[in-house]
Structures are given as structure tokens and as C-alpha cells.
Amino acid sequence: MSTGNIFVIGATHHRTPIEVRERLALDEDGTTALRDQLANLAGLREFTVVSTCNRIEFYGVAASDDVAEQVGGAFCRWQNFDPAEFARFQLDLRNEAALQHLVEVAAGLDSQMLGETEIFGQMKQAYASAQAAGHTGPVLNRAFQKAFQAAKQVRTQTAITMGQVSVANVAVELAGTIFGGLADARILLLGAGEIGEKTAKAFQSRGAASLTVASRRLVRAMELATTLGASALPYEQREARLAEFDIVVCATSAPDIILPRAAVQAAMARRPDRPLFLIDQALPRDIDPTVAELENVFLYNLDDLARIAQENLAAREAETLKGRAIAGEKARALWQQIAAQVTVPSAAPASERPRTSDAASIPESR
């Protein structure tokens, strides 16, 4: 006999290559339109669609086993995607396993960049949209709200969010260990290439207010400065004005050293009590490596940043077992609470069911 179930189907970065994920991706309008279509699917009591660059997932409460397949079929038709190909990459979990997956995704345990927290916001947004449209009910409301609580617990009880795992963010984190807040840190970006731009943006996203760009081509420096809301500096003045900056990001393609020891020494003589953080992301290197010996000067090159990112990632991976254990325990407890509700016979599709008081509740804030 077919019974009700809670399910998750979809495709994630684990099994689905980026070329396929591109074809499966849903934009906001597409998500809304598909949701309206799914709302009329017989036997689908409640559902939520989570669509990010690394996953497209459908969480639902179904009256029978075949409803999840119908959801997958409707999605494939909507995207003009071959169902047989979709089946090759498809994630398909039921009941307790689906709940565990939900907690793991919300906690960042299932993310490509392990422990990242952006997914938590994306999940909350997806849930809030579904809730506002009346597509969730008592089961999914409880499941998502409990999953958000469990995700917070995973993050606080393990170290999966500790340490940055991208080179640009590692540089920003390092700046934090030197200066504390970045609000009053003055940053000089030498080089107007992509790597430097990424790092500069990472600094800005953490509150760095004062950014100056210098490049051998002043026009390019001015263009980038305009894009970033920064100011431009003639490249030739970099040594003379070095003392004005606290953080220097070097990412030029210059074949030789562009910041010699003498220049850094002279700058430090003018600002001896302020630390100077030098980030050399260039290859060949832009900064004389011997400046690392100077008092109050902290120099990190590309290898240093990459090694720290690797160490942080390894540390996060070591914490996943602990995180998955917590997620499993929470999923088990949650399944015991909602199993009875999930297995009751279905009455009407999600679009025809009135909202419950649970559905009207506001999701917990971050």
C-alpha cells in the first residue's frame, strides 16, 4: 500500500556537473511559475523549491510514493530536460533521510564551500516565499523551522564555519587579526587585474571604507576605482605614499619587485606604531620577501594564503562528522514528531488548502 512521505528530490553539485546545473537552474520568475504549476499536482500536500547555483531541490509532503516522481517529471517538462538524464543525477531521499538532508543543507554541511553560511539565507528565503504563497503547511513549517534551529546548533557546536577557505577571504580575515575592525584601515590596491579586484571587493564587503587603486595604466586604475567607489593613485607615487596605507594588496603582472625593502623601511619610519599588512598575490612576486623581517610588517604571499585556506578547509572537513551526527540526531527527533502527520491521507492539493496558523508564522530571524 502506498503511504504518505516527506521527500526531497533534485540535483546538487555533488553528482551534477556545472554544465547540467546550468540547464537545470531556475530564475526567480521561473521558480514562481513552476511553483504555481506544482501547486495543482494531486497528492502534493506541501512543497518548497530551493534553487541556488549549486542545487535545485524540491522539498515536499506527498500523499503517496509516486508524487515525488511526478514533481521531477513536471520540472523536467518545464525545463525541457530529458527525464532519463535527470534520473542519472537525481537526488531522491525520503522521510528521516530527507529531513537530515534538509538540516545538513541549512547548516552548510552539504555546500560546495563547506560551512558557508549564504545557503542558510537562501533556504530561509525559499521557505518564506513558499510560505507566503501558501505552499507550506504544518509539516514543512515545522520541518524548516526545526531545521533552521538545528543548523544554528551545528554551527555553534562545531567549527565548520571557522576560518576562511578562499584566498581573498583569508586575506581579509588576516587583516582582522592585525587591525581588528577594518573601518579605519586604509587599503592600497596595486594592479587592476581580476585577482586584486576580488580581494578589494572582499575587503569592502567586510566594511573597509578607504580604498585606493594604482596601476601601471592610470586609465585602468581609474576605471576600476570608479567601479569600486575608490580613488586612484598614479603608479609612480606608490613608494612615496606607502606610509599612508595600512594594507597593501599587490597583484600586478610586473616582472620585477615593485615594492623594495627600502621603500617599506622608509614608510615604516614614518608610521612606526601602525602595523603594515602586505599581501603579495602576484607571480612573480611584487614585494621584496625580506620586508617580512621588519618590525610591525606582516607579509603574506599567494602560497601563504592558499596554505591557510587549505588548512581551514581541512579543519572544517574534520568537523563534518560531528555536524552530521548532530543533524542526524535532530532529524530523527523531528521525524518522530511529524511521522504521524506525514502519513495521514491527503485531502487536496497545496493550492486549495487553507493556510494553517503555523504557515502564517514568521520564520525565525538569523
Binding site: 567549527a159 581588528g180 612606526p272 602595523p275 603574506y300
Partner: protein, 281 residues
């Protein structure tokens, strides 16, 4: 209000609580890889209250600030450092500072308790009935507590400096505050300690200048030397001569000198009043 137990029992309890804070912090740091911030803070707070009760009983028994022998001096220094930590630690969220403070407080208080001779017999009332000289002594020892906290932030600065220069940032190094924050904290603590000690010496000098007072020369020289060293250190830092790592090392040396000077700065006043009982209920 009558408190149960003797003053020394309360002080043993305080030392045990500080030690528990240190042990708990060590377990959290080395086994779980994160500081036991709130738990350490709570244990230190309880220890502080126990120490306050012990020193209060002692003070009531001797009729003044309990600074009459090396035992009391070390106890009072540790208590001063904890007083500051409870303010600074809560304000600046320096989680590892609690761990280091618990380590320092348990060491100083336990050592002072483990040497009964430091608190034995012939305790003298050092102040007579002069409240000014009592203020001088209390402020001077309190400033040593400030220097204790300065030593801890300097030690944390050196550890952070090592981690940044050697590029080892994981593990418990990640819980150290930013190096610039530690440097600023060091300057503020040194300025505070120097100001308090300077004021204490001024108050004492006003008393020593009176013709009927006999001044213990050794004590006078040592106290002025510690105050002078602190002042010179602050001046060198503010003028940019002594910076970063060298400043932190100098602060550690200053605290060590201050701590050692307590051995010489004993109950050395001219007029010796009748002895008081060392233990109170």
C-alpha cells in the same frame, strides 16, 4: 554580617575557583579547540567574590587594608588584577584573557597560600592610624594588579605576533585578539598603572616628608624605581622609541620587577603598633 569559615578558608576557595577556571579553560582550548569564555568568566567571578570575602574578613580583623605581609600583598595584587579583568574582559570580549588571568590568579594566590611563613606570626599594622598612608599602600598594590593585566595582554601580544610572523593562525591562536587591539590595550593599561602608582607615591611622599616619620629607604627606592620604570616605559612608547614586540617584552619585565619588589616592600613603617591576629572569623 558574620561570614562562615576563616579568612584563609575563603582565600583557599578563591584559589581553587581560579584554578578550576584555568583547568576548564585548558580543557576547552586543547581538547575542544575553543575557549570556555562564559564558564571561565563565571568561575573567576565566583573566585573573586570568595577572595573579597577572605580579604574583607582579614581587613576587618586588622582594622585596615590587609597589606601587612607578603601573603596579603600577593593576594591583594591578584585581587586587583581580577577586578580589572572583570571590567576589561567583559567590555572587550577578550576571551583568552580570562584564561590567562585565571592562570595568573591561581598561581599567585596558591603560591602565597602554600608558604605559611609569609603569613605567620608577628604581623604588623603598617599604617598606624593614618588613612593617607593606607591609601598610598592600597593604590600602589592596586597598580601592581594593573601591571599584572598589562603583563597578560603583553604575553598575548607576543603570541599573536609569533602567530602572524610564523603564519600559524589556526588552533587556539585564532582566539587571540587583533594585534593592534592588544597594543592599544597595553598602552592604556600602562598609562593607568603608571598614573595610579604615581598618585600612590605622591600620597606616600606627602607622609614621608613629615619630620616624625622614619622612612624605610629600601622600600622607598624600590617603589620609586618601579614607578620611574613604568613612567619611562610609557614615555618611550608614546614617543615611538619602544614599539611592538620590544614594548611587550619590556612590559613583562616591568611586571616581573614589580612582583619581585613586593618581597622588599614589606611592612616597613617607622612606628610599629601592637601586633594583630593574622586569622579572623
Amino acid at each position: 554580617m558574620t561570614l562562615p569559615f576563616t579568612d584563609r578558608t575563603w582565600l583557599w576557595l578563591a584559589a581553587a575557583l581560579y584554578l578550576a577556571g584555568f583547568i576548564l579553560g585548558s580543557i576547552a582550548l586543547f581538547k575542544r579547540g575553543r575557549p570556555a569564555g562564559a564558564a571561565t568568566y563565571a568561575l573567576i567571578l565566583l573566585g573573586y567574590l570568595a577572595q573579597l570575602a577572605g580579604l574583607g574578613l582579614r581587613g576587618r580583623a586588622v582594622g585596615g587594608c590587609p597589606l601587612g605581609n607578603p601573603f596579603e600583598l600577593y593576594q591583594f595584587t591578584a585581587w586587583s588584577a581580577i577586578t580589572l579583568y572583570l571590567v576589561v574582559g567583559a567590555t572587550f570580549r577578550l576571551s583568552l584573557l580570562g584564561y590567562f588571568t585565571a592562570c595568573l590568579a591561581s598561581t599567585v594566590t596558591l603560591i602565597s597560600l602554600l608558604f605559611p611563613s609569609w603569613d605567620a606570626g608577628q604581623r604588623v599594622r603598617i599604617f598606624g592610624h593614618n588613612p593617607w598612608i593606607e591609601l598610598h599602600a592600597a593604590l600602589a598594590v592596586f597598580s601592581y594588579g594593573v601591571f599584572a593585566l598589562l603583563a597578560l595582554t603583553s604575553l598575548m601580544f607576543l603570541l599573536r605576533h609569533f602567530s602572524l610572523k610564523s603564519k600559524r593562525l589556526g588552533g587556539w591562536f585564532s582566539f587571540l585578539p587583533a594585534i593592534r587591539d592588544l597594543d592599544h590595550m597595553g598602552v592604556r593599561l600602562l598609562a593607568t598603572g603608571t598614573a595610579i602608582l604615581g598618585f600612590a607615591v605622591s600620597v606616600g611622599a606627602a607622609h614621608w616628608a613629615r619630620p616624625e616619620t622614619v622612612v624605610n629607604l629600601e622600600k622607598f627606592v624600590v617603589t620609586v624605581a618601579v614607578a620611574g620604570a613604568a613612567f619611562v616605559l610609557l614615555l618611550l612608547r608614546l614617543r615611538g622609541v619602544l614599539l611592538a614586540r620590544r614594548f611587550a617584552v619590556a612590559c613583562l619585565i616591568l611586571y616581573a620587577a614589580a612582583l619581585l619588589s613586593l618581597v622588599t616592600v614589606g611592612p616597613g613603617r617607622g612606628r610599629v603598633p601592637p601586633p594583630a591576629a593574622p586569622t579572623a572569623r
